[in-house]
Amino acid sequence: MEGENKTTGKVAGIIANLVIVEVDGPVGQNEICFIQHPESNLMAEVIKIIGDNAYVQVFESTRGLKVGTNVEFEGHLLESTLGPGILSRNYDGLQNDLDKMEGVFLKRGDYTDPLNREVKWDWTPIVKVGDVVKAGDWLGEVPENGMPHKIMVPFKFKGKFTVKSITAAGSFTVDDETAVLTDEEGNDVTTTMVQKWPVKIAVKSYKEKPRPFKMFETGVRAMDTLNPIAEGGTGFIPGPFGTGKTVLQHAISKYAEADIVIIAACGERANEVVEIFTEFPELDDPRTGRKLIERTTIIANTSNMPVAAREASVYTAMTLGEYYRTMGLKVLLMADSTSRWAQALREMSNRLEELPGPDAFPMDLTAVISSFYARAGIVYLNNGESGSITFIGTVSPAGGNLKEPVTESTRKSARCFYGLNQARADSKRYPAIDPIDSYSKYLEYPEIVESLGEKLGDSWIENVLKTKNILLRGKEAMEQINILGDDGVPLEFHKRFWNSELIDGVILQQDSFDEIDAYCPLDRQKLMLELVLDITDKDFSFGMFEDVSTFYKKITNILKQMNYSELDSDKFSTYHGELDSMINERLN
């Protein structure tokens, strides 16, 4: 552990943020070190060791760094600090609290404490003296933004412990003693509300990880209705630039049924992060009535921040997610964008002069991505409760080409695919999720199908499949119309096409900037889908093909107005009535 005899070294070479250090003692792969630049200490991580030379990636700019500078190794990996007070914080990729930093510009080597050490928390013990506990077990809890924040046996603790003493209920800082635990050999250890965990290693302090078995509601129709993601599931959103990846991600993080939302802004635009900073404190969580920011933590490693920290940022976010999952909470983790993370890996691999894989990405890219996605999931804790991390990552495929390495690697790991389509985005059909190409593997899980049936009625899955079929047939009909001309196909083709347009306009398209349409709860999704499918079942008679489009445009318009209106409002029922009479008129 952190002994007195730290390994030290001296800088021997510098190429951008890759620094070669000559060391005088043992060093570990991925060990953290500090380079003692006269201006400030620079944090770095060992990524390769050749003899006495440790190759370290520096999380900061190396400008002005000189050969011969002293380096001190810390004896541990990059760690997150876990404890109450993480929610509504804005961290950088290394979990520095951005709000604690002084000045407008980021100063290099400015490392700030992720937790507040002064604030007192209302502690309630859960265990009793004599209880036997192990890593991840709940010792007590403190309320954090209205959420029960469990104080756990540190994840690093190995084996069984007996509770020797437990602090009585009261008000304490994070560093105060919470319990004294005795290990199997009779040694006593004191715990506080704080623990540390190496970010690149998965937290496994739970009993088992079952297959995901229930759906996770996001409030986005094109996802929930057509291709639902499971609680504890994984999904990814690839899309060329300008197809609305970030807007969709923000929409999901606003309205999804999560207790905790962790957003890793990984190598993306700073203004997008500012949008979250600005909006989330204003927006209400539709489920709890509290502000959205209270359940949210943001890891902001924007594209202009150092590249190596970008790689760390997704791991930091995942570790925070695992921490809250072990408290029995539902965590939603969003990473925007995993491509930037992969590019950070590429930059380092390049500086290390490794033999490159496809598009100069490192050869182990697929393995790195899949072991990261594997950290998501729903788990049963030691006490039988469950917690989950649902993970959705975006991918920014180079040139919009889905055959590039990052998209292909991710496709092998993520179970839901929400492909954003350029043509849909061009014609402002948002969200631009392609209804034909996208999929959710969870629709093939019998346990998910069953839970959907319980929640939404037995006919639900049938309706979903029917909807997909109408969309597919509509696309085929449109291709025929384009080849043969409006007159060259039977009227039936026009009806098929317009049925799919109806679903597109009313179900798939959703206005995330409209106060009401932005969030569509599941019962409302069910209502609208049934309403629309009912129309597609009707046997309307049309004289000529132009009548089809005219009629369908009119009813689409009315149904859209319904999407914009409060459910159960007069406005909604007026439109509903209008719709019914228009349909009946056409049937007679």
Binding site: I15, I20, G242, G267, S303, N304
Partner: protein
């Protein structure tokens, strides 16, 4: 930059490549500047006592006994009010025959703004060009490029935008600018009486290409001075970023780096992001807005340069020659301003977002009708109407020679809706239709 008397002079160069020299030297800082035979150079690699220097102007004619002097600092610029109205080269030295600038010395390419110290951009930049203001409204603190083919009038449009934008300072970063274009900007700014608001850092096609790499940092460092210290609204014009990226690939190639897509360095995304992310709105009122130009090769936006740019910038503006009306228009399909949501319908009229979307949807319908027409199919009455609408819309809204205010743009668009369509065909919120539909 003058050398100081006590500095050590090295005269034993070990290796020389096309762009770099290697020399034995101690106590040298990474990124430090040096003079190699009087040419500016920068430290790009240090290995023990071996220092590799990138010589900006190239190494032609440098001999192994040439004098190398280290300047002890990274690239710097003197900032102050005196920058206004002046023209500089990539090293920040005057090229207009004027005196050296007096001021504080700052390192260029400095640290990033802490994201929590930024303010959300919220101030509309009105340009009068409807293809921009109506469909792709710009906001202070935004970064947006023109994606244009080399034959399109991007520099003219950009200059127009700059002059109408009511910025306190306009900073021109010219990379690989032809001498003609340089003079075009110079004359335009002079004639507009705007010279005292303009600062230019120019690398023309006559200068060594690698020097271009310093232009964006020079421009943005001076922008930061005016935006942070003077709370000014600064507009930075960077043209042409494709030539900047080409210079990056030259350097990475000469440093034996493994190229990724399109022979570009693997770090292209980070290199471009570092520049574009300098665009910022400060809470105190100062702002840096970046309008750039990325020239395309035959309209190919999947090339690594426009592709990476698109992921970094907050949208992009496409110019297209519309043969139906014989004018250059701002393409409504491929253009996008990501920050427009922050201002449209808020600083502009309430119906702006819906009108914008409805018009583009109808314009898309027209494009489909045109495909049908081109394939020899009969057009429906609706198709005919969309085509007529599209033509008028191009002429009265999208063309780059339009100069009207947003209110007028909305009224014109409602006028076109009413002229060619039925109310339910435009799919706009009912209350707006009731309010703005032009009754014939």
């Amino acid at each position: 930059m003058e050398t100081l008397a006590f500095q050590k002079i090295y005269t034993k160069i070990k290796n020389i490549t096309k762009a770099t020299i290697t020399i034995e030297a101690d106590n040298i800082g990474y990124d430090e500047m040096a003079l190699v035979d009087g040419r500016m150079a920068q430290v790009v690699k240090i290995s023990k006592s071996e220092v590799v220097l990138q010589v900006f102007a190239g190494t032609e004619g440098i001999s192994t006994n040439a004098e190398v002097v280290f300047l002890g600092n990274p690239p710097q610029l003197k900032v102050g009010e005196q920058l206004a109205g002046r023209f500089f080269n990539a090293f920040g030295d005057p090229i207009d025959g004027g005196p050296n600038v007096e001021g504080r010395t700052v390192e260029i390419g400095g640290p990033s703004v802490n994201p929590v110290r930024r303010k959300q951009p919220s101030q509309l930049i009105a340009t009068g060009i409807a293809g921009i203001d109506l469909n792709n409204s710009l906001v202070t603190g935004q970064k947006i490029p023109f994606f244009a083919d080399p034959d399109q009038p991007y520099n003219q449009v950009m200059a127009n935008v700059a002059l109408r934008a009511e910025a306190d300072k306009i900073i021109l970063g010219g990379m690989g600018l032809s001498n003609d274009d340089y003079l075009y900007f110079k004359n335009l700014f002079t004639n507009a009486g705007a010279l005292d608001r303009i600062i230019s850092f120019v690398n023309t096609t006559e200068d060594p290409p690698v020097e271009r790499l310093l232009i964006p940092d020079m421009s943005l460092t001076s922008a930061e001075y005016f935006a942070v210290e003077k709370n000014e609204k600064v507009l930075v014009l960077l043209t042409d970023m494709t030539l900047f990226a080409d210079a990056l690939s030259i350097v990475s190639n000469r440093m034996d780096q493994i190229p990724s897509k399109d022979s570009m360095p693997g770090s292209l995304y980070s290199d471009l992001a570092r520049i574009y992310e300098k665009a910022v709105q400060f809470p105190e009122g100062g702002s840096i807005t970046i309008i750039a130009v990325t020239t395309l090769n035959g309209g190919d936006i999947t090339h690594a340069i426009p592709d990476n740019t698109g992921y970094i910038t907050e949208g992009q503006l496409f110019l297209r020659n519309d043969s139906d009306i014989g004018k250059v228009i701002v393409d409504p399909f491929r253009s996008l301003s990501r920050l427009k949501q922050l201002v449209i319908g808020k600083q502009t009229r309430e119906d702006h977002p819906q009108v914008m979307n409805a018009a583009i949807r109808l314009y898309a319908d027209a494009a489909n009708a045109k495909t049908k027409q081109d394939n020899g199919f009969d057009l429906t009455d609706y198709d005919e109407r969309t085509l007529e609408f599209a033509r008028e819309y191009s002429l009265q809204i999208l063309a780059i020679d339009i100069n009207i205010d947003t209110e007028k743009m909305l009224d014109v668009t409602w006028g076109l809706f009413s002229k060619f369509f039925e109310r339910e065909e435009v799919v706009v919120r009912q209350e707006f239709v009731d309010k703005y539909w032009v009754k014939n």
